[in-house]
Symmetry: C2
Subunit: 508 residues, 2 copies
């Protein structure tokens, strides 16, 4: 009898059992995701309270099945088997172990205290923001920070307590690395920003902010998403207050958007952004269906896919060379006096502003770096909660050259801290850096890619991203994924060079 | 220490535990219902296969939680406690016991064999119907009948094996009682039918079948549903291939309809029908939320609520006295040459036909009685499957005076047998009889109800049904419910008298 064959069988049985458990949990999560999607899209108002109960039941069940005796037993067997298993099976085991550990490292007491504190903090944050008064939020925020510190100690870390929280959003990425990359990025960004100012060029954005009929905006955005390769046989697009992308399988991916009647940018760029996420969700390899691998490698990698399409493709002059005639057909009146070039410039206008979500491609990162530094200092107890407004404003002054008039447009603007999302913000900028690195590589491998964009040929781009990124899902960590694709480690160079070129093109 | 107080505490604890388990199962069922609703309304085509897996997971989990060790333990304690418990708690325990028993009486082997046979039978039924050839279905149908006989033996019965299957749809109703009621009903129906024929009056239905703009049909149907009292803050209306009503809580009830561009009846009467179901689902007492009591008392009682609104209210001359001017406003062109009386007559035209779902109010029951008799004979092995077409056609000839040209418009027309729904058909006619008995009682208690209808005042009707029927959910069996409301046992008299009066009015 062949020993190796015996081993394969043992690991195959184990894989089979692990897959069955993952499928059960994944189906519960899909049901929960559908309940969420429905709540945001079609649920009647009256359904909110019962829906919260139903979601709690599904989420609790999913957590129970991931942490019960059977799961513990599987984990022990996987730990014995994982070094000997077939390489193709390894990711399936690895993500199961990872999620099991995340789910079991926090005591249910800590989870309970945290979810209660977050529920209360969301209320006080809302009130504080409305009243433009950080003090109304500071006590609850302190509690959340204490709980996050407690959680970080449970998760464990080697260098920096904040790494334990970062890891939830960006596995294996360290604060020390981020600090280096972000320092370069800030320095270069401030340099570019002063160039923009020195040019004294005023970009006219008015073409974006005209009356655009809502149903036609939706139709046009859907057309663009379909051209990108988003498959509407395996997905749809609906309206919500805040745009998002969710999925219940690779064959059922849901995008949402909002429409402002006097602003084409919000709906259009929103749909392109979400369709970028959607292509990722539609692209996981079939073999990972109903497993934990069928998910984004990280928040940052997911964001890289949406930003790739929104900023790199749809933010390019080539794209509007192709897309503008289609826009003209849809909106002949609004585009009569506009050229593709003017539309492209309007979309790429650079101007320091207070609100992160409204910031341009370049200054956006300064908002993120500021938050990253404050979070790192808070979690390491180097600064006090009560000092946040002052620190915030000083950092805004230093990097963006502007100071918010109050906390509402300053340190109270984001919901993240109130729901305990410490470690989340860096993903946004990482997404930009990853996408720029992928774009550099794509241009090497598809030298004609820019002319393809100018012709509206997006299939090679979708295929490239599918082959290099999408199919893997969580089978690789972000660091490995970027290394495999670009043969380099994370840096800000490609992003900076890209923005420099664009600024040169637009501002001269 | 007071013994009775101690007993109350023991039963309260038991109730608390039972309610927690029911809430868990109910939430899983709600998630499953939402996944079903989504599949019929918005799910992209590609999602079908994964959705089937997800539904199977949720349904299996719900079944497991209803039949696991904890449930067994609760059932034992409930059986000890139920005679001593507070009367208000009894329905909660009773429905739990009932569902537990239904879920545990069939072996999982039988359940598995049945669901496989049904999946195959649905394929062969579809093929047989397409090819107009019963023989292609007969073998699979025989298997299903054998499995239903096996199931009936597991469930148990006292008089008639068919009662065990009837009980799944209409608890405690016996075939022997139905046979008596149905014999009266058939005799009287045939009498009325010959009267209609003798009148030689031809009703012109053409006003129903004109081009009616689809979005306006939807708007008008929504308006009528809202007037009936269906609460759109706690519900919605969407489009599907086959109309249905489902709910995820009393505050989230979903109706669906279909629209034919050249037929106003289908959408309008469909919405009124489903809104009747919807009012029932919106009307369960709050104390039954997230328990098994928050459901229809039976298929027949549920159908009585939809038919009450569709046939008794919206099929009345008084209703169209009020509604017709609204219809005229919505469709001025289509109604120019039409009077309320003509519209009312068109909706109530009586004419024997082959297809059950297209039958008028009167002859519909003859279709049901025929199916009931054949099912009873099949389950009791008094007739052979191969004889069904011949028996079907003979019964059609005898009762309706017409013979279908082939099996497709004869014994192959309904999907029910292919999914094992033996015992289901009688509910449709029971719904008619129940609603007629309720209507008689309502007229006694609200003597001005007809003039209220003529004024579009539906609030008293909704309140009456809410108080007498809706709030109870499954807390009462149909037999008790009808007895409490009307102080009578089930009979066909009210239905027959109602139709007689209508026929007299229309056909003279």
């Amino acid at each position: 009898m062949n020993t190796s064959a015996t081993k394969i069988t043992a690991s195959s049985i184990l894989l089979f059992e692990t897959k069955i458990l993952m499928a059960l949990i994944k189906d519960l999560r899909s049901a929960s995701a559908l309940m969420d999607w429905d709540r945001e899209t079609y649920m009647p108002l009256g359904g909110a309270e019962d829906r919260a109960d139903q979601l709690a039941t599904l989420d609790t069940l999913a957590h129970e099945y991931l942490t019960n005796e059977k799961a513990h037993e599987l984990v022990k067997r996987i730990e014995n088997e994982i070094l000997n298993c077939d390489p193709s099976e390894k990711p399936l085991f690895a993500v199961f172990l990872e999620d099991f550990e995340k789910a079991t490292k926090l005591s249910s007491d800590l989870v309970g205290r945290t979810s209660k504190a977050q529920a209360l903090a969301q209320i006080s944050w809302r009130k504080a923001r409305e009243e433009n008064n950080f003090k109304l939020f500071s006590e609850d925020l302190q509690k959340i920070i204490d709980l996050k510190i407690e959680a970080a100690e449970c998760y464990g870390y080697s260098e920096n307590r904040y790494d334990a929280l970062l890891d939830l959003f960006e596995p294996d990425v360290k604060a020390s690395e981020l600090r280096n990359v972000f320092n370069d990025l800030r320095k270069e960004t401030i340099g570019i920003l002063s160039q923009v100012k020195a040019s004294h060029k005023e970009i006219d954005e008015s073409c974006l902010f005209q009356p655009y009929e809502e149903s036609k905006q939706m139709e046009f955005a859907k057309f663009i998403a379909a051209q990108m390769g988003f498959d509407f046989n395996n997905g749809r697009l609906d309206l919500t207050t805040h745009p998002f992308c969710t999925s219940f399988s690779v064959r059922d991916v849901r995008l949402t958007t909002r429409i402002y009647p006097n602003d084409i940018r919000s709906c259009l760029m929103g749909v392109i952004h979400e369709a970028g996420h959607g292509l990722y969700e539609q692209g996981f390899a079939k073999k990972y269906a109903r497993t934990f691998v069928a998910d984004g490698a990280s928040f940052g990698i997911h964001e890289s896919q949406s930003l790739f399409w929104e900023k790199i493709i749809a933010g390019s002059e080539e794209f509007w060379h192709w897309a503008f005639p289609h826009l003209q057909k849809a909106f002949p009146e609004q585009t009569q006096q506009v050229t593709p070039r003017r539309f492209y410039e309007a979309l790429n206008k650079i101007q320091p502003s207070f609100i992160r979500t409204e910031a341009d491609e370049l200054t956006y990162n300064l908002h993120i770096i500021l938050r990253f530094e404050i979070e790192d200092d808070l979690i390491n107890q180097r600064i006090k909660v009560s000092d946040i407004p002052e620190i915030w404003n000083a950092k805004m002054k230093e990097s963006l050259g502007i100071v918010p008039a109050g906390d509402a447009e300053g340190c109270l603007q984001d919901v993240h801290w109130s729901f305990g999302g410490f470690g989340y913000f860096p993903s946004y900028t990482l997404g930009k850096l990853y996408s720029a690195m992928m774009w550099t590589q794509m241009q090497k491998e598809i030298p004609t890619v820019k002319s393809k964009i100018a012709n509206g040929e997006f299939e090679p781009i979708k295929l490239w991203l599918g082959e290099k990124v999408h199919q893997y899902g969580r089978a690789e960590k972000p660091i490995q994924l970027i290394k495999r694709i670009t043969d380099r480690d994370l840096d800000a160079n490609d992003f900076i060079n890209g923005v420099k070129a664009k600024v040169q093109n637009i501002y001269g």
